[in-house]
Each structure stands twice: as C-alpha cells, then as structure tokens.
C-alpha cells in the first residue's frame, strides 16, 4: 500500500512537470479536447437510448405479431393480401353473383384429406335399382371426410325405380343424425340418350354391341362431368354402382400415389364351379406393338374392344397381372383404363381430357380417356395387386349351367330324401320287432316274478326265520334278477333265444 501511494504521487509529480513543458498553444488544444471528451459521453448514450427504445419497440411488436400470427390464423388473412396478389382474387361478400377461383388451389395432392381437397364423385346409373342398397352401404363406409365429397349422378334411360330409390337413399344419408355422414353438394341429373342396347349382361358384353354402347356410355360420362365439375374440385372419382367389395379407404389409398389418373385392379368373384374368381375389367392395359399395328389397319371409326377374340392385341392387362399376395402399392404404367373405379386429378379433365364418344386413336370411352390423358402427358397408372371386386352377374350360359346344376342338385336332394326315408322305414320296422321283444320280455319277466314270489312264499312258510327274507330283499335285486333271468332262460325256451339273437345283431 505505501509503495502504491508513493508511485501515484511520483506519477502525479512527473505529470505536472511535463505539463509545464508544453507550449500554451498545445495547452489550449488540450483544453478543447478535454471539453469535447467531456461533452461526448452525454450525447452518445442519448442516441443509444433512443436507438434502444426503437429497437425494443420493434422487437416487442414483431414478437407480438409472430405470436398473434401463431395464435390467430385469421390474422394471417389480414396480412397476406397486402403481401401477395391473391387480394385480387377474393370474393366480395357484398356481391354474391361474382365468384373468384384460383385453379392453383385445386391441384390435388397426396394427402388431400388434410388439405380439405374436394372430390367430385361421378356415378353413371342405368337400371341400377338392385345395386343401390349395396352402393350406398359402400358410400356410408367411405373414410374420406364426407363433407369434402360432392356426389353427381346421371340417371339415363332407366325403366326401373332407380331415380326414386336413389333420391330416397340420398335424402336419408343427408338427414343422418351423425354429422360425419352427410356429403357435400349432391346433383342428380336426369338425361336420356335413347340407348337402344339392352343393359342385360349378354347384350352388354356382346362384341357387336360394344362400340356403339361404349360411345353412348362415353357421352353419358361427359355430360355428367361437364355439368358438375366446379373450379374448387381437386379430384374426380368415377365409380360404378355394381362394385360388390372395395376397401372403405379406397379414396385415400388411390390418392396417396399422387398420380394424375389411377385405377385399381378389378376382379369378380365366381361360383366355385367356375373357379372361384376371375379378372373382370380388361380395359386397363398397356399398349402393345401388335395393337398399334392392328390400329393402323382399321378405318377411322373402328373401335378396338378388349377381351374379344376378334381383336387379338396381346396387350399386358392389369387384371391378369394380379398376385393375391403382392404388394398393393405396386404401380404399373398403363395406356387404357377401365371405368369401374377411376381416381383422377380434376386438372386432367380441366385440361380437356374426356371420354371420347368417337373413335380416338381407335378407342372410345374409358380406354380412349386413358389414351387422351397419355396424349396430354399425364401419368396414367394401375395398381395390379390392389383389387376391388365387381358384382358377379351370371351370363345366359352361366344361368343355363346353373339351371342344370340346380336340377342336378334337386335330383340329388330328392335321392337323399328317399334314402333317408328308406332308412327310416327300415329302422321303424326294426323298432316294431324290438317292441315285440320288449313285450315278450316283460311277459316273461312277469311270469318269472310270479314264480319267484311263489317260491319265496313257500320258503318263508318252511323256515319261519325273519332275517333271511330281509337279507334276500337287500341283496336280492341283482342276485335275483340273475336268478330270474337264468330261470327265465331255462323256462323261456325258443322266444328267449330269438331275443338274444336280435340283441346280438343290434350290438353288432
């Protein structure tokens, strides 16, 4: 400590001595400098404080804004228009007749159910009364949020109660107390195309009827789609009413692949005598060289129809590539698609792809649609191992066969019935004999009992003992029975032997 003080005083001293040496000008400068130095500390913090205040206010407000953005999503809508151009595309709540849509918002993605993507489900119907209950049971089971599914039906040239039944079912599902059941907008369109072709199975799949039938079908599909597709639909799902079995998650399952057009494999169950199951939809196929060469030779209006010997195309069909134990997510590029269950992005249809009601590259309807989608460079994909099951409707041949089988069955049943009756008769006749024998046996037993009673009475009289008969009655039944039987056997003679014989036969 003392040394410290000493050095301090020493420095002080040297300092003053140095000061004395500087010139008056320098001194003057020094004073000015000192003044500046003294002045600066006052100004700087003031500036810094102001800056700090600003900084603090800014940071507080940004933090508040961020928190508010996180807490209230509605706040985002307030901010975003000023940032983006979407302000231009907003509906004015006061003008109900003007609507704005940005098609970029209806592109369709792999997880549409999370992004509230709307699906338009199109179902063409004709004389489908019998299939409706089954169809609606499928509809109710869909796991895709029902409110996001808009339904569109086209009822054409129906002679049965399809329309009435359809409306009944629809009104029921819309009035369902379960808030998850009702669907989005529902349009039922009635339009007749004057279809001459009957809708029964034989006619429907007959080769000659195919081309014109499919052109009419295509027309119906186009009318349905063009009238009901709206700018807010991201997906379009085409579904036939006569699907018997399909997973309730089918929309999500197909959507997950995020393809422009996607179809599952379609099979149908068959009665056991026909093999149990069969590929149904042969319209999903990959193009082959043979088919392209064949198409070259045909005239402008010809339509190649798959699955008939007349046109051997040697195309790989989705249906035949099914492996029941295969990975259901396996994809296969295809060119023609079947119409039983198609999921497509709405932009495919918006771009112009439709179901050609004319011969487009020698194809019509859904196969033509597949070709057109390919032409527009959209991805068209089938899932060979993801199978849905079409209803089995027996054809005329099948029906004949079934009739024959039914006859056979009836015959067989009649035979069996006869058999049973005969057996019954036989056993009944035996039963009679048995009864006789029982009667005989009883009679014999009675006789034996009478005899033994007489004997016992005689013995009692002879011995006059009290214990013996008691003992006898205690042990008696078995011993006596044996005795009695033995006696009866001895005495019974012929009838007894006969009875034994029957017994033996019965045992055998």
């Amino acid at each position: 400590m003392p040394t410290d003080q000493a050095t301090h005083s020493l420095f002080h001293h040297t300092g003053t001595t140095k000061l004395k040496l500087v010139s008056p000008v320098k001194l003057c400068l020094f004073v000015v400098k000192k003044k500046i130095i003294r002045f600066q500390p006052r100004t700087q913090p003031a500036l810094r404080w102001r800056r700090k205040i600003l900084f603090r206010i800014c940071s507080i407000s940004t933090v508040a804004a961020v928190i508010l953005l996180l807490i209230f999503p509605s706040f985002r809508q307030l901010l975003l228009p000023s940032l983006g151009l979407s302000a231009l595309l907003r509906d004015d709540p006061l003008i109900s007749t003007v609507k704005h849509y940005d098609l970029s918002n209806a592109q369709g993605s792999a997880r549409g159910w999370e992004k509230d993507e709307r699906i338009l489900m199109c179902v063409p119907l004709r004389d489908a009364e019998v299939h409706l209950p089954m169809f609606f049971s499928h509809l109710r089971n869909f796991t895709y949020p029902h409110r996001l599914v808009d339904l569109a039906f086209l009822v054409s040239d129906s002679k049965d109660r399809t329309l009435m039944l359809l409306k009944e079912h629809l009104e029921k599902v819309q009035a369902d107390p379960d808030p998850l059941q009702p669907f989005g907008e529902i349009s039922v369109i009635e339009k007749d195309f004057g279809q001459k072709v009957q809708q029964d199975v034989e006619n429907r799949h007959g080769f000659a009827a195919q081309a014109s039938r499919r052109k009419k079908m295509a027309q119906a599909r186009n009318w349905l789609l063009s009238a009901t597709l709206k700018p807010y639909h991201s997906w379009v799902y085409w579904r036939d009413a006569d699907v018997e079995t399909a997973p309730p998650t089918i929309l999500e399952d197909l959507m997950r692949h995020n393809k422009d057009v996607i179809v599952p494999n379609v099979w149908r169950p068959l009665p056991d005598w026909l093999g149990g199951e069969q590929p149904y939809d042969l319209n999903s196929w990959q193009e082959s060289e043979t088919a392209l060469a064949l198409a070259e030779t045909l005239d402008e209006d010809a339509v190649i129809v798959e699955g008939y010997a007349e046109y051997a195309t040697w195309r790989p069909h989705l249906a035949y590539l099914r492996d029941p134990y295969g990975d259901p997510d396996v994809e296969m590029e295809i060119d023609g698609v079947g119409g039983v269950s198609i999921l497509a992005k709405a932009r495919v249809f918006r771009t112009g792809a439709h179901f050609p009601a004319f011969s487009f590259e020698k194809h019509a309807e859904t196969e033509g649609f597949g070709k057109m989608a390919k032409r527009l460079k959209f991805s068209v994909v089938g899932l060979p191992h993801y199978t849905i099951w079409h209803l089995y409707e027996p054809s005329a041949d099948d029906l004949k066969q079934m009739e024959r089988m039914e006859e056979e069955r009836l015959e067989k049943e009649a035979r069996e019935q006869e058999e049973v009756e005969r057996a019954k008769r036989v056993s009944e006749s035996w039963q009679d004999k048995k009864g006789e024998w029982e009667q005989d046996k009883k009679e014999i037993q009675n006789k034996a009992l009478e005899k033994s009673r007489e004997r016992r009475e005689r013995r009692e009289r002879g011995e006059r003992g009290e214990r013996k008969p008691l003992e006898g009655s205690e042990q008696g039944p078995h011993a006596h029975a044996g005795e009695e039987e033995a006696e009866a056997k001895k005495g019974g003679g012929g009838s007894n032997a006969e009875a034994n014989g029957i017994d033996a036969a019965d045992d055998a």
Binding site: D91, D92, P93, I95, V98, D102, I189, L225, S226
Partner: protein
C-alpha cells in the same frame, strides 16, 4: 446496461406499453369482425357447402327439358359467355354491356393467366364487373366467375411474337388449356349456349347472341374483321383466318405429317390452299348466308352446350394435325355436329 434501462424506464416503458397496447387493439378490433366476413362469404358464395348444421340438399336437374332453340329469349335459355382475358380492353366491356340479350340469362366466365399482365387485366376486370354487379338489379348479370389459370403461359402476348410460326403451337396449346379450364369449370347444368368471345373483340352487333342462335346450328361463327386507318381513311381488313373449308392440299399435307405436327393458317411457309371464310365476305351481302366449315376461329363463336357436353373441347395437342379452335371444329364433326359460318355477319377485332 443497467443505468440506461433505469434512466429510460419511464419514457421507454410507457411508450412501449402504449404502442404494444395500441398494436393489440389494432389487431384484435378488426379481427373480431374479420372472421365473420369470410364465413358469410363462404355461406353466400357456395350456398350451403361448408355449413355443418344443414347438409346440402339433393338437387335434381332435368337435362331432358333443356332446350337450345332458335328462339333463345322466348325459351329463357341461358347463355354462358366465356372470355380468356390476357388484356382488358374497355371497348370490349362496353360492347359486352351493349348486347341486348337479357342479362338475367347471361353468365360470364373469365380466365386470366398467372402473370403480371394477367393481374393488371384482372384488376381492371374486377373493377368493371363490380360496377355492373353492384348497380341496379335489373342490369346485373346472372353470375360472373373469374378464374386464374393454374399453368404458365409460355410466350408474352405481344402482336409480333404472338404470330411467329414457331411460337404458335405452344401458344395455342396454352390457349386451348385455358379455354378448356374455363369451359369445364363454368359449364353448369342449366347452360344452353356457350358464346366464346375473345377479349379483343371490340365491336359486334348488339343482337349478336340472338342473331347467331336464330340459325339453330350446333356451332356457328361470324366473320372476324379489323378496322384500321390507312392514309387517314377508315378501312377494314379480314383478321381471323381460322374459319375455313378444307382443301385437298391441306389434307395431303396432313397425311404426310407426323402426328405431333400442326397445320396453321395464314403463313407463307405453309400454303394450304384452303378457302378461307375471311375472304368470302361480299360487301352488302346477306348477313344470314350460311356456309359449312371444317375449321373455326374462336374470336366469336356460338356453340350449343350439348356439343361441349358430348366432349368437343379445344384439343391442347395436335388432333388430326389441328389445334385449338380448328381442332375443336374437327372434334365436333367427329361427334356429328357440323360447324357453320356466316361470311357476311361481321365482328371487329381490336387493332394493336
């Protein structure tokens, strides 16, 4: 650090608090009515689409009763006027407003590209539409749908580049996409007629719809001309060359072409020798004169809705080596609908 905080605390904290509170009030006060606006918007714009309380009703449409006749006004037939908008011309809008067809039977549909130009056009269109639709009820259109397309338009739409042969295919493919996107999202269950009217058609007779419909043809197209001034004199010249009758030369050209090539009209490099409706106009001729066409232009085009419903669209790919409206005419013919033209019935295109 501690000193400036202590020193500035009264001013800073009060200021910060006041600002923060003000900020919160500013944010919260509009946020209460704001959510209700989108809600009411949804409820009104899409009827019952998202209201969970009452599921949408089942709506039944009888398309068998839908007529498209030569007397559209008498039969109360709805007309959908569709316009792909790249630029907004006030003359177009004024002309549209002058159409004498009852406005309660007219629905308008517009599609704008996803570009800056598209946005400027959209802003102007918005403005024009708002003025009419907030005006007296009698003069309002039945409905207006404005759509922004979901794909990019390849070429900037100025006159020179637009007509370059090399750019034509791409441009017209995009145009087809735009037309189809617009058509298939606006075509409703009750639409009877579709009038395609380009945004640069600035002068038509006021009875355009009635006149064209009176011919009762599936597809009918007027002759499209352009007014210009040459040495101070007002003159007209043919503009749209896409309406034509096919020629053997063109058909032979198509046969030789690959399936991805297209034939275009009005280019020296490609002499098709088709007879063009643009040159079939006779001064003072009968405006009701009809002529069968093989290709049609889309500047003004009246189509029965059933033609589009059957599937006739604007092919965005070479269809019989034809594209867009010309391809549409071919597709309509494939579906059994014959297009017709009116060589002496004129509409006028904007002069750039």
């Amino acid at each position: 650090m501690a000193r400036p905080l202590r020193r500035s605390s009264p001013i800073t904290l009060i200021l910060a608090l006041v600002l923060f509170l003000g900020f919160i009030i500013f944010i919260l006060s509009p946020s209460n009515p704001v959510p209700s606006i989108p809600k009411s918007k949804i409820a009104s714009s899409s009827s019952t689409r998202t209201s969970p309380n009452s599921p949408p009703p089942v709506v039944h449409y009888y398309l068998n009763n839908l007529t498209t006749s030569s007397d559209p006004v008498g039969n109360r037939e709805r007309v959908l006027v569709l316009t792909p908008v790249a630029r907004f011309y006030d003359e177009y809008w004024q002309n549209l407003l002058k159409l004498s067809y009852p406005r309660d039977l007219i629905e308008l549909g517009f599609i704008v590209p996803k570009t800056r130009e598209g946005n400027t056009a959209l802003a102007k269109l918005e403005d024009a539409v708002r003025r009419v639709q907030t005006g007296s009820k009698k003069h309002r259109f039945l409905g207006v749908t404005i759509i922004r397309q979901d794909f990019d338009t390849p070429v900037p739409q100025n006159e020179k580049e637009r007509h370059a042969l090399s750019a034509q295919k791409e441009r017209r493919e995009a145009m087809s996409r735009a037309r189809n996107s617009l058509l298939y999202t606006t075509l409703g269950t009750e639409t009877a007629w579709v009038l395609w009217l380009d945004a640069d058609i600035i002068e038509t007779p006021h009875t355009l719809i009635q006149d064209l419909a009176s011919h009762d043809k599936a597809v009918i197209v007027p002759n499209c001309y352009q007014r210009y001034t040459d040495k101070g004199k007002e003159k007209t010249r043919p503009y749209d060359f896409n309406s034509w009758h096919d020629s053997e030369t063109a058909l032979a050209m198509a046969r030789k072409m690959g399936s991805d090539e297209i034939i275009l009209e009005g280019y020296h490099e490609m002499a098709t020798y088709r007879s063009l409706m643009a040159y079939e106009m006779t001064e003072g001729g009968d405006p009701h004169l009809e002529t069968e066409l093989d290709g049609v232009g889309g500047t003004a085009l009246l189509v029965k809705a059933e033609v589009h419903r059957d599937g006739a669209m604007f092919p965005p790919f070479p269809f019989y080596n034809l594209i867009e409206t010309e391809g549409f005419a071919k597709m309509a013919r494939r579906l059994g609908h014959q297009p017709y033209g009116l060589p002496n019935y004129l509409v006028y295109h904007y002069n750039e």
